[in-house]
């Protein structure tokens, strides 16, 4: 029987693994993270210990809460679109701690506050934070939903990587499901 304390914690804090797809679906390739979450939901069996959310442009609210919460996931994966000057559709992992300060300004069109909170989570709370990023093509200045062909092709490939890294690992550790990081501030 859960206590009211446990009842009051939202899934994105209480599950051991949190995967957040972020971005703005109105602006072309910026919707990569959201598209990847949708692909995972429709093509894979998401384990019970994984909270998978399309956070869209609302990710900061979740990260604020995570930073301040006493109950947090053990592992956090952020899936986002970035402009790192690579080939559109190329996807790769970024360590938030390795983002040079001078790069914060142009990390992405909407990443600055998010990236700082990710660094806080990684460095001060013990949560394993990873970022899966996809290089975008040119982003539209006005509302224009839909991924470019190179980024669209990257979605299933990246989804398979996420499933392998997070879904399989979660199933391998079924006994640990439901446990999460309790941190006092």
């Amino acid at each position: 029987m859960p206590t009211i304390e446990e009842d009051a914690v939202p899934d994105f804090c209480s599950k051991p693994v949190l995967i957040l797809g972020i971005g703005n679906v109105f602006f072309g390739d910026d919707g990569f993270g959201c598209a990847l979450v949708e692909y995972l939901e429709t093509h894979f069996d998401v384990p019970g210990g994984v909270c998978l959310q399309d956070a869209g442009t609302g990710v900061r609210k979740l990260l604020f809460t995570l930073c301040l919460s006493q109950v947090r996931p053990r592992r956090l994966l952020i899936v986002d679109a970035v402009d790192f000057g690579r080939e559109p559709g190329e996807w790769f992992e970024i360590d938030p701690a390795e983002i040079p300060v001078v790069k914060l300004d142009d990390f992405s069109m909407h990443q600055l506050p998010t990236s700082n909170m990710l660094r806080e989570l990684q460095q001060q709370t013990g949560v394993e934070v990873r970022v899966l990023a996809c290089q975008t093509g040119p982003l539209p200045a006005e509302v224009c939903p839909g991924l470019s062909e190179p980024v669209r092709r990257a979605v299933p490939e990246a989804a398979r990587w996420v499933a392998r890294e997070y879904f399989d690992a979660s199933r391998d550790r079924k006994g640990a499901e439901g446990r999460n990081t309790l941190v006092n501030f």
Binding site: P10, D54, G56, R60, K61, T65, P113, A141, V143
Partner: protein
């Protein structure tokens, strides 16, 4: 030599904004401009789409207050289809609105504006942030975080998810509330009410008195106000009529589907954002106490209502008016008004959960496409939110206009920043504390750009450039 100071938040989720302060030849402030880049092309993107998609699409506009767009869109759809949701449908929507408000107002008071008030505008950047607030008042922070958790959980229980909600549909609400869910929510609402009571008492005792001088001087302008009231004049944040009050306290009441008769939208070449003004009071003018100038958001709503129909908040309203009159004009009183609203929403959530209608299985009515115009309006945390749709006979959108909360405050924010800058920058001399204080004037309005200006590591995403009269860069500062 005249010069220009630009305070520019470098990047943010929902757009960009910059503050430009132009000095005259003596180094004093000539004018200040706050420029917000809004979502462009959205209306065109929506044309030709089924109107019932709007409650699902519009929450994507803003990651900060998706519930407000969701509910305004659902109400506009009701009007387009010519239906009235059953009582349970309307009450579940209002319940979600109140919970989303609590989450927002708590975040803003404690973790955005809170850093200014709890730690002071002159505090070093390394402590003037969320972590600084935690360190300054850890027990308070613990309670706050717990209730924010509960608000997110409550929305999950009622609507399935808190981000990108889809539960409100044309004609009502998609999911009835089970009685055991209601019981679970009721306990959480009790705890939220306790935090709301604590928050306003804590602020009145430990926060506002320390900054009363700042409250009385920073960003002060004189304007009218807009907000929603019930037919009897009581405060309401989900539904009612619009009240547009002049600075002398006189007002016009009108149904929100007649907003175009009362609200004009002015365009300035230097701003992407329109400037709404009170049409019947005069034309647009970017001047203090201009007849058409009005403000939205918490202070506006507290000013326009005749009373609040929940006892705790009515007592707070009476105390507020004894201290500051009606309409109260001091810009930093937005924070005080926000706490009265926090209390109202907590008590309103309990009132709705105690209403037997809330667990009725009849939460929606059927809708049929038709050619029509429909206006939906709610009070978003940042101000009156209007969605105006027109459809053809198949229910496809043919026209659309949105006025969001921050837009109503476009002119007032510019005037408050000008006032703050004029009072704090003299003979070309300024320091970081002055610039923080100018930002405080903006943050009081809780515009969408406010959230991103606080970075969790203590630094502000702000860049400051100084130009001479010829446009050459004299100095560039960043923190």
């Amino acid at each position: 030599m005249g010069k220009t100071i630009v305070i520019q938040p470098v990047t943010r989720i929902e757009g960009h904004a910059k503050i430009t302060i132009q000095l005259d030849d003596t180094g004093n402030v000539n004018l200040a401009r706050v420029n917000v880049i809004e979502l462009r092309g959205f209306e065109r993107f929506c044309m030709g789409r089924p109107v019932e998609d709007m409650p699902r699409i519009t929450p994507r506009i803003c990651g900060v207050c998706p519930w407000s767009h969701h509910l305004a869109a659902a109400k506009a759809c009701d009007a387009v289809f010519g239906v009235t949701p059953p009582p349970a449908g309307a009450k579940l929507r209002e319940l979600c609105n109140s919970i989303a408000y609590m989450e927002e107002h708590i975040l803003h008071f404690y973790f955005l504006a809170g850093a200014d008030f709890l730690l002071g505008p002159d505090a070093d950047y390394s402590v003037r942030n969320v972590i600084g607030v935690l360190g300054a008042a850890p027990e308070v922070a613990r309670r706050v975080v717990r209730v924010r958790h509960m608000c997110a959980k409550m929305l999950e229980i009622i609507a399935g998810k808190a981000i990108h909600p889809q539960a409100a549909v044309p004609g009502g609400f998609s999911k009835p509330l089970a009685k055991d869910e209601r019981d679970q929510l009721r306990k959480m609402a009790d705890e939220a009410l306790e935090l709301a009571k604590f928050s306003i008492a804590f602020a009145k005792e430990s926060v506002f008195p320390k900054y009363l001088d700042v409250v009385k001087s920073l960003g002060v302008i004189t304007s009218g106000f807009i907000g929603t009231v019930k037919d009897n004049g009581a405060l309401n944040l989900y539904d009612g009529k619009l009240r547009l009050m002049a600075s002398d306290g006189s007002f016009d009441d009108f149904p929100y589907d007649r907003y175009t008769e009362f609200i004009g939208e002015h365009i300035e070449p230097w701003s992407y954002l329109k400037f709404p003004y009170a049409k019947k009071r005069g034309g647009f003018s970017l001047e203090d106490d201009a007849p058409g100038l009005y403000r939205a958001n918490t202070l506006a709503r507290i000013n326009v209502c005749d009373f609040i129909d929940t006892p705790l908040e009515q007592a707070e309203l009476e105390e507020f008016r004894r201290n500051f009159g009606r309409p109260a004009q001091l810009t930093l009183l937005y924070h005080w008004a926000r706490l009265i609203e926090l209390l109202y929403n907590a008590e309103n959530a309990i009132r709705l959960l105690d209403d037997p209608d809330i667990t009725s299985l009849e939460t929606r009515v059927k809708v049929t496409p038709r050619a029509a115009r429909g206006v939906g309006c709610t009070e978003a945390p940042r101000g009156t939110l209007i969605h105006d749709y027109e459809t053809d006979a198949d229910g496809m959108l043919t026209n659309m206009n949105l006025i969001v909360g921050t837009t109503h405050n476009n002119a007032p924010i510019n005037l408050s920043v000008t006032q703050a800058a004029k009072s704090l920058i003299h003979d070309g001399k300024y320091d970081q504390g002055v610039l923080n204080t100018v930002e405080m004037a903006i943050r009081a309005y809780d515009p969408c750009l406010s959230c991103a200006t606080h970075r969790l590591d203590g630094k502000m995403s702000v860049k400051l450039d100084i130009f001479d009269a010829q446009g050459s860069l004299l100095d560039s500062l960043a923190n």
